[in-house]
């Protein structure tokens, strides 16, 4: 620790009993617990923390806060850390950014010499010819990328989220914010109080004795209320529609950061003001600091920022900093009072300030130039709430204008006044905030549960007393030019020339010069930029413009936004068995399914020759009860349902109103007024909502009760010539074909489990029984089937084998063999579409499709070369290169020992024996022929009916 650390200050936040060792730029340094990276380094005499973006000029402290554009550093593998905010920890590895090869020597600093040629947007005007060199130019430009580095090995860290429902949320815990919190709590509201800094108090923390006394009273008040939840080192990053407010909490055990998502009934914005830099030649030299930066360094961290200071003061903060500097033993070389017309012309120095030239021509030797030239309200949260703050010339800053009912503002961003006045205004605001919040709360409580209609009440907001503005000179730029945007190296000259080039709307100028686009988003510079742009265009006075602030107010880590990794995933109750047998996982929407158990072909052969079982639990199941179920089925399916007897199932197809195939599956009649509908696994939710939609919006009078029972049943398909024998061994259901024919359904006991239902269908093309078991018992029945079928050669098969089996049989899959434009006709199920029904969903479109008869047809296709399997999505191409269709499914068939396909083709090609050409990914063509039937295997369907 060096001579820059001064004696104990009453408000200091460092713990001198606890030293902390850390590294900066490869050297080791020490500071105290509570120091920020920058306060500790300043105490050790460090003045330069970064190099500027474009000209690579050395940069030092400007604001000494989170929003300081010059204090971005790399901490370990964490890029762009705010050195003015982040507190030091033992062993911390801190490196400068954007300073290759070093802070001191810097080749790109030669940019300063050519700076006059790096006018705004210079890159738009060059690097064009010759075009072949453009890639090389790109390399050059990308070398200019600023910021830290990310490491592929970075441990993402631990983040989480939390939902909150405070009556009142207060952004900013300065005097106004704290007293607002106390008043709101006293009025019976629950409060969350958010403060960006590690301590409560705002500017009171680095004020004088009176300020510190007022602060400790406020802290006691806040802590005395259990209804106030305090979040320090936290920031309100956004206010979204309906007062949905995001807060990032930083000071937590266990997690790096937490995102709080709060539905706030009334939001109070009390974020105070940011001090504004002054634009003049050399205003970015290390040693040129804002008065609040100096007051923080001296009073919070007991650090002396320099030896000999010039102070440019336009307000009380400037006066206070003079006193602070004297107390810190800094020699005051000169105080230039802007209120009496004084100003600074230029700061000079090689790597830091060495002298200052004032507007009267005096050159003053100094290593520190402190400016107190005005305040900027960080109105971001107000903008997000729809407010367009207005400019008040007397106060030289923007103030809130027209806030929505659920948002209030208090403190420095509203006006000026003594600490007492700010506290009083905060209290009045807090009371009103509570009143508004509790009105909303009462209404929300009255809603649930309510009748059929809600009308929002019109609240009657009461006003809050005004806060006056202290007069303040308008100071933006001196007679010289300097840096306006420190992050982007944008000068006042750049802004003026951009306006002259035609970028004379403020937004165009911003986009062209990139002013305000940097990591601090122009928070401290914005008003200077507005003023100088106005100066250039002569037109837009500050009164007439305002700038839109987009969320987030402060940058947020992607990890924080992501929170913990919660991706909903579904398992059948039999999945543990599949995992134990090393089944390959298949991701099917939210479901994890067994793709195969190592030998899909073998699994296929087992089904064709003996018997196999597959876990098809994800199949959608919907229980339908009531007198009008048949009417609903008639409406949503294209086929007829009136004549379906109890104990029978029927295959059905659903189309949307545009005639496009939506889903398919079988529905069985279990009782007089009781049906069970099955859907594709992917379509389960869609179909359930679809049925509800047609019932609720079309036929609320119908008596139909829907219950989605997909998860209630584990579903096992037992398929193959031996399936009847296998199932017979385990059930009391009579499987005699005369009693239980193809497309029949029966309920009963299977492997000792009651309330199963079984239907006989044939997706695989074999004799098969689909058993649906109350799901918690699924695994038990699965294992019973394997045990009972051992001598029959039973084998589990996965989704891949099922795909092959159904392809051999020519059954299509909705969404694979059909697409977003596939209307009902042309997929081999034309027989199911009953245009003579009075009404069903999509009927008119299907009528017209039948008339046009120009739709693509799904056909079975076999390549001339039986060993060639054209990959799915290969196009079918005419000799003239026109696309005539595509392969939608293709596999090698273990049963037929040859390649088999399904494909969509133009109608003229949908003829048995038609020769077609398939274009393979390698560009070659493969001749193939269209089959008579969809089925490559057992077209007569003898096996399913067996």
């Amino acid at each position: 620790m060096s001579g820059y650390r001064i004696d104990h200050r009453p408000g200091e936040v460092i713990d001198r009993s606890r030293e902390v060792a850390f590294d900066w730029n490869g050297d080791s340094y020490r500071g105290y617990m509570g120091d920020t990276i920058v306060s500790a380094l300043t105490a050790s005499g460090v003045r330069v923390f970064s190099r500027s973006y474009k000209y690579h000029r050395p940069r030092g402290i400007l604001t000494a806060t989170y929003h300081d554009p010059n204090l971005m550093v790399q901490v370990g593998d964490d890029p762009n850390v705010r050195g003015g905010h982040r507190r030091i920890e033992d062993g911390m590895q801190v490196m400068p950014q954007n300073a290759w090869p070093s802070l001191d020597f810097d080749v790109k600093a030669t940019n300063r010499l050519v700076g006059r040629f790096l006018s705004p947007g210079f890159y738009y005007k060059t690097f064009m010819a010759p075009r072949r060199l453009w890639p090389a130019y790109q390399m050059v430009l990308s070398r200019f990328a600023a910021g830290g580095t990310v490491d592929p090995q970075t441990d993402p860290g631990r983040f989480d989220h939390r939902y909150a429902h405070p009556d009142v949320l207060i952004a900013g815990a300065g005097p106004a914010g704290m007293s607002a919190a106390i008043a709101a709590a006293e009025a019976g509201a629950s409060v969350i109080l958010v403060e960006e800094e590690p301590q409560l108090g705002g500017h009171l923390r680095y004020g004088g004795t009176e300020d510190l006394t007022a602060l400790s009273d406020l802290i006691d008040g806040v802590h005395s209320h259990d209804a106030i939840e305090v979040m320090t080192d936290s920031v309100v990053t956004g206010r979204y529609d309906h007062n949905w407010v995001s807060v990032v909490q930083r000071d937590l055990p266990g997690v790096s950061e937490r995102l709080v998502k709060a539905r706030v009934k009334c939001l109070v914005v009390a974020v105070g003001t940011l001090e504004r830099p002054y634009v003049f030649k050399g205003n970015d030299l290390p040693g040129v600091m804002l008065s609040t930066a100096v007051r923080r360094l001296i009073n919070l961290f007991a650090v002396r920022p320099g030896e000999r200071a010039v102070v440019l003061s336009a307000n009380s903060s400037g006066d206070a900093v003079v006193a602070d500097l004297e107390r810190a033993g800094v020699e005051i070389a000169a105080v230039i009072d802007a209120r009496t017309g004084g100003s600074v012309h230029e700061a000079t120095g090689a790597k830091e300030v060495s002298s200052v030239l004032d507007s009267r021509g005096n050159r003053i030797e100094a290593d520190l130039l402190v400016t107190a030239t005005g305040w900027t309200s960080p109105t971001a949260l107000l903008n997000m709430a729809g407010d367009r703050p207005t400019y008040v010339p007397e106060a030289a800053r923007y103030v809130p204008n027209d806030l929505p009912e659920e948002v209030l503002a208090t403190g420095g961003m509203v006006g000026d006044g003594s600490t007492d006045l700010l506290i009083a205004h905060g209290a009045a605001t807090g009371t009103e905030a509570a009143r508004r919040a509790l009105t909303v709360k009462a209404f929300w409580q009255s809603v649930a549960p309510a009748g059929r209609r809600i009308e929002m009440p019109k609240a009657t907001p009461a006003g809050v007393p005004e806060l006056d503005h202290e007069p303040h000179p308008e100071m933006f730029r001196s007679s010289t030019h300097g840096i306006v945007d420190f992050s982007e190296d944008v000068t006042s000259k750049d802004l003026i020339s951009a306006a002259k080039e035609g970028y004379d709307s403020l937004e165009l100028a911003k986009r062209y010069t990139t002013v305000g686009m940097g990591p601090v988003q122009g928070k401290v510079e914005a008003v200077n930029a507005l003023a100088i742009h106005g100066e250039a265009t002569g037109s837009s006075l500050l009164e007439s413009v305002t700038t839109t602030w987009r969320p987030p107010y402060a940058p947020v880590r992607l990890g924080t936004l992501a929170g913990r990794k919660y991706e909903p995933v579904r398992y059948s109750s039999i999945q543990p068995w599949h995992e134990a047998r090393g089944a390959k996982r298949l991701v099917a929407g939210q479901w994890i399914r067994p793709d195969h158990y190592g030998d899909p072909s073998g699994e296929v052969r087992a089904v064709r020759e003996k018997v196999g079982i597959i876990d098809v639990s994800p199949i959608g199941k919907i229980d339908l009860r009531g007198r009008d179920v048949t009417r609903l089925l008639e409406l949503v399916y294209v086929n007829k349902w009136s004549k379906l007897d109890v104990g029978r199932v029927r295959y059905g197809i659903m189309c949307a109103e545009d005639g496009v195939i939506l889903d398919d599956g079988v529905t069985g009649r279990l009782g007089e007024n009781h049906y069970m509908m099955s859907t594709t696994s992917g379509g389960a939710g869609t179909v359930w909502n679809w049925l509800d939609e047609w019932l609720q919006t079309g036929h609320p009078e119908w008596d139909v009760k829907l219950t989605a029972v997909t998860d209630g049943y584990a579903s096992i398909n037992v398929a193959g010539p031996q399936s009847r024998e296998l199932v017979r061994r385990l059930t009391d259901i009579d499987l005699d074909p005369d009693v239980f024919p193809y497309m029949g359904v029966h309920t009963g006991t299977v492997a000792g489990i009651d309330d199963c239902f079984v239907w006989r269908i044939g997706f695989t093309g074999e004799l098969s029984y689909e058993i649906h078991i109350p799901s918690f018992h699924g695994l038990q029945v699965w294992e019973a089937l394997l045990e009972a079928g051992e001598d029959l050669g039973v084998r589990p098969f996965g989704v891949e084998a099922q795909r092959i089996l159904r392809l051999e049989k020519g059954h299509f899959i909705v969404g694979q063999d059909t697409d977003g434009l596939s209307q009902g006709f042309g997929f081999g199920v034309d027989w199911a579409i009953k245009l003579d029904k009075p009404d069903f969903v999509g009927k008119p479109e299907l009528d017209w499709q039948a008339e046009r008869n120009d739709h693509p047809h799904l056909v079975a296709i076999q390549t001339e070369d039986p060993r060639l399997v054209p990959v799915e999505s290969c196009q079918i191409v005419a000799t003239d290169g026109a696309i005539q269709g595509r392969i939608t499914s293709s596999r090698m068939s273990p049963t037929l020992g040859r390649s088999i396909c399904l494909g969509q083709v133009d109608p003229e090609l949908a003829r048995a024996g038609q020769l077609i050409q398939i274009r393979l990914p390698n560009g070659k063509s493969a001749p193939a022929r269209v089959l008579t039937d969809h089925a490559h295997y057992d077209p007569e369907g003898a096996r399913v009916r067996g």
Binding site: D241, H242, W244, R263, D692, E701, D839, E845, W848
Partner: protein, 87 residues
């Protein structure tokens, strides 16, 4: 995230609902012609104003609601159940 005051469930986040938007009356399927039917399928007012639109409380009471929402401010001023007394 909007808050929608569901008549059954009270204030809920809008991610519990699915948006259906403008609903147009369904023509008589037997009397209609392609022009009328496809206007029903595809054409929308798409106003920048107060609109009446259908939402479905899919993760809550599973009831269809009609909202009056302003498509510029997203303010919601009225919520009503679809489907008469059954709802």
């Amino acid at each position: 995230m909007l808050v929608i005051l569901c008549p059954h469930c009270g204030p809920r986040n809008s991610d519990e609902f699915t948006f259906q938007g403008e609903v147009r009356p369904r023509p008589d399927v037997n009397g209609t012609d392609p022009g009328e039917w496809r206007r029903y399928l595809y054409l929308r007012e798409n106003l920048a104003d107060w609109v009446s639109e259908r939402w479905f409380h899919v993760s809550g009471c599973r009831r269809y609601l009609m909202l009056e929402r302003h498509t510029v401010t997203n303010e919601i001023r009225d919520v009503e159940l679809v489907g008469g007394e059954q709802a």
